[in-house]
């Protein structure tokens, strides 16, 4: 039966259903409610785990790394500056091929200081070697969190579950929480074959010289590519268990005859679905890129079949370069017969609201003869006078 839960609470309950033995976290907005809910589950005896309230995100990531290597399922959550502070550890966790799950409550990165949502944080660590899965709504956040543990443990790779801060973490939605039996049937107990054990001692994290380094990196790369299969399998098995459909890699929503597509990651997908209902005159296919790492080239190509124009929305900037997601989408579609033209816009940075009215502006923007990256919701009134005169006007 659906229940109304705040996103953070739902995620915390989903984590608890996966029964991590060690949870370590440092509070940061908008991740705080997740950890607070986990703390109260522990305090109430509903989750039996060591909750380590660390002195920094750097230590949060380090604690879960140590815990997972010592043979326990471990979980952490953070956002924004916390992601950046733990970035050194994030590379280390994935390089050591340690299975972990982390929720990233997506938030902008300072400066300027902003506690509000965009995806600059997770995009900043897109090459950290983690699996990155983005959630369009809180039901997906619950389902993805549970799947993430199985994916991580089967692939020996860490998984970052990205949920838009506030938009999802602080929003009440009706959603289904699975039963403990359902989760237990899906997620076997944690078993890490390289766990540190005095009875079978191994050395982890050794110095690797140039004669082996390239091969280790290549194996990591291939492991991420191979993770696609596990992501698909986890979604299929979880779907069979709970009865909810969830496109594992790319979700395509819209008529096959649509010539226009809009691709996004995260909660803006729901906004676009609502907008499409309101502005129903043009057939549009909406694409949700759930798996950003590994980047699902084949699934994306299939989802773009028949499109002539594809608008890719960015929730982060790569200053001085084209869009992060747009560039990768363009690269994936390059050389395909009838590949759509890719239009690329940043939207909703630092918590700027993404209203339904953005939708017709996106559809209008595809008539640009030479599509280039731009920020669609710039308010020229707040630009310096010179930039106002010569700068780009929004389409």
């Amino acid at each position: 039966m659906p229940q109304a839960l705040e996103g953070s609470q739902a995620i915390a309950r989903a984590v608890a259903l996966c029964q991590p033995q060690v949870v370590a976290a440092y509070p940061i907005t908008p991740q705080t409610h997740i950890v607070e809910h986990i703390a109260s589950l522990v305090a109430d005896g509903r989750l039996r785990c060591e909750l380590v309230s660390v002195e920094s995100e750097f230590s949060a990531a380090s604690v879960v790394l140590g815990a997972a290597c010592a043979g326990s399922r471990a979980y952490t959550a953070t956002a924004s500056q916390g992601i950046l502070l733990m970035s050194e550890v994030l590379f280390n966790i994935s390089g050591l091929r340690v299975p972990l799950v982390m929720t990233c409550a997506n938030r902008a990165v300072s400066a300027p200081l902003s506690i509000w949502n965009d995806q600059q944080d997770s995009m900043a660590v897109r090459d950290a070697g983690w699996i990155q899965l983005y959630c369009a709504d809180n039901q997906e956040a619950v389902d993805t969190t549970i799947q993430a543990f199985r994916i991580a443990e089967r692939c020996e790779l860490p998984v970052m579950v990205c949920v838009d801060g506030f938009t999802l973490t602080h929003t009440l939605e009706p959603l289904e929480l699975p039963s403990q039996d359902m989760v237990d049937g899906f997620l076997p107990p944690y078993r890490f074959v390289r766990a540190l054990d005095p009875l079978a001692p191994i050395s982890m994290g050794t110095l690797v010289g140039p004669e082996y380094f390239t091969e280790v990196r290549q194996m990591h790369h291939e492991a991420l590519l191979a993770a696609e299969k596990e992501i698909v399998a986890a979604a299929a098995d979880w779907s069979a268990a709970c009865g909810r459909e969830l496109a594992p890699l790319v979700r395509a929503d819209g008529p096959p005859e649509a010539r226009i597509g809009i691709l996004t990651l995260g909660s803006v997908f729901g906004t676009l679905q609502d907008a499409r209902e309101r502005f129903a005159d043009t057939p549009v296919r909406l694409l949700h890129l759930r798996s950003f790492r590994p980047f699902p080239v084949e699934a994306l190509r299939a989802a773009c079949q028949g499109l002539s124009e594809l608008v890719v929305l960015e929730r982060a900037l790569a200053p001085g370069a084209d869009g992060i997601v747009g560039t990768e989408v363009r690269s994936a579609l390059m050389g395909i017969d009838g590949a759509p033209r890719v239009h690329n816009f940043a939207v909703g940075l630092g918590g700027r609201d993404v209203p339904l009215s953005i939708y017709p502006r996106l559809l209008a923007a595809i008539h640009e003869p030479h599509p280039r990256m731009g920020t669609i919701d710039i308010d020229p009134r707040y630009l310096p006078p010179k930039a106002r005169a010569t700068g780009e006007t929004p389409p």
């Binding site: 033995q21 380090s62 604690v63 540190l196 050794t206």
Partner: protein, 327 residues
């Protein structure tokens, strides 16, 4: 300490070797010796978290490893946090395995300081061992906050305008002890029985414990590898590196110095202090300053031994490998 007989101590001589021979440490490496002694005393039922540094590099160049115990190196700054995570996991699994974090002074005094403080404050059942060689030796002898006052390093060189490091060695033991942890102590590679005894004591503590082990670096300190033990011993005998034990920030033991040596005996064999023996009034001032630091230690910790003791600074535990150059 005085209640134990030499026979008991000899009976405790270990058989287990956690760190094997064949690793790539320099000749006379104090850290290698200290780590071996630590593991001898700790035994096989341990899991190690090792910070980045010489110890990590010289023991585990892939595909080789000198460790006979489970060992994880993650990063430079996080040994204490990784150890905390291991401990949390093992506790949840109900396993009786001691977690030991190993770090140099950089990974303890400086870049690993915050993680160390957090681990101590949260009361994890972890022994943190700092191999204190008083500088960033792995990266080529740069100053750390553990480098003694007036010592020359590549980033605190002695020259016309400078007389070496301008700042005092950080009193890490007092800072650690101020967390009111059950057990914190200093030890030295020159006193192996004392070191192993302190390791065993620290291992038995249910909660955080801390050992600061003075470990000469022949390369960084500028002395022959064969002199490591003697130099380490002189650091104790001059009072510059007092061997003390603290419980909950209360002094419970100190190794008495039977024959207090002047600090020049300790400084002279080391290239890093060579400039202090120049005919220069500033050098004389620094020598006086260092002597005052040693005298202060002897005073506050009551280090002066009033009668011969088998466990004092000249006692049976004192090893004299490589001859008695400065005896």
């Amino acid at each position: 300490m005085t209640t134990e007989t030499l026979h008991d101590l000899r009976g405790d001589q270990p058989r287990f070797q956690g760190l094997e021979a064949g690793h790539r440490a320099c000749q006379g490496c104090g850290q290698a010796l200290a780590a071996r002694l630590t593991l001898e005393a700790a035994g096989p039922d341990v899991v190690l978290a090792n910070a980045t540094g010489c110890l990590e590099v010289f023991t585990t160049a892939w595909p080789d490893s000198a460790w006979r115990v489970p060992w994880l190196h993650s990063l430079f700054a996080n040994a204490a946090s990784v150890a905390a995570g291991m401990e949390a996991a093992l506790k949840m699994q109900g396993r009786d395995v001691k977690v030991i974090a190993l770090a140099g002074d950089g990974g303890t005094f400086d870049i690993g300081f915050q993680a160390l403080s957090g681990m101590l404050e949260r009361g994890h059942n972890v022994l943190f061992v700092c191999y204190d060689n008083e500088g960033y030796m792995n990266t080529g002898v740069q100053r750390s906050s553990s480098t003694p006052h007036a010592a020359a390093t590549t980033t605190s060189p002695a020259g016309v305008a400078r007389i070496g490091k301008r700042h005092l060695k950080k009193d890490i033991l007092s800072i650690v002890a101020a967390h009111h942890i059950p057990y914190a102590a200093t030890a030295s590679v020159a006193y192996p029985t004392d070191l192993r005894k302190k390791v065993r004591r620290a291992i038995q503590v249910d909660g955080p414990s801390f050992l600061q082990v003075h470990a000469p670096c022949p390369l960084g300190w500028g002395h022959g590898g064969e002199l490591s033990i003697e130099v380490a011993r002189l650091a104790v005998q001059t009072g510059l590196f007092p061997l003390i034990e603290l419980e909950r920030d209360v002094l419970i033991g100190a190794m008495p110095i039977r024959r207090v040596r002047g600090i020049k005996d300790y400084l002279r064999p080391q290239g890093r202090f060579r400039h202090l023996f120049a005919d220069d009034p500033r050098a004389r001032e620094e020598l006086a300053h260092l002597q005052a630091l040693a005298d202060h230690n002897i005073e506050v910790y009551g280090l002066r031994g009033d009668r011969p003791d088998t466990l004092d600074s000249e006692g049976a535990d004192t090893v004299h490998r490589g001859g008695r150059h400065f005896a």
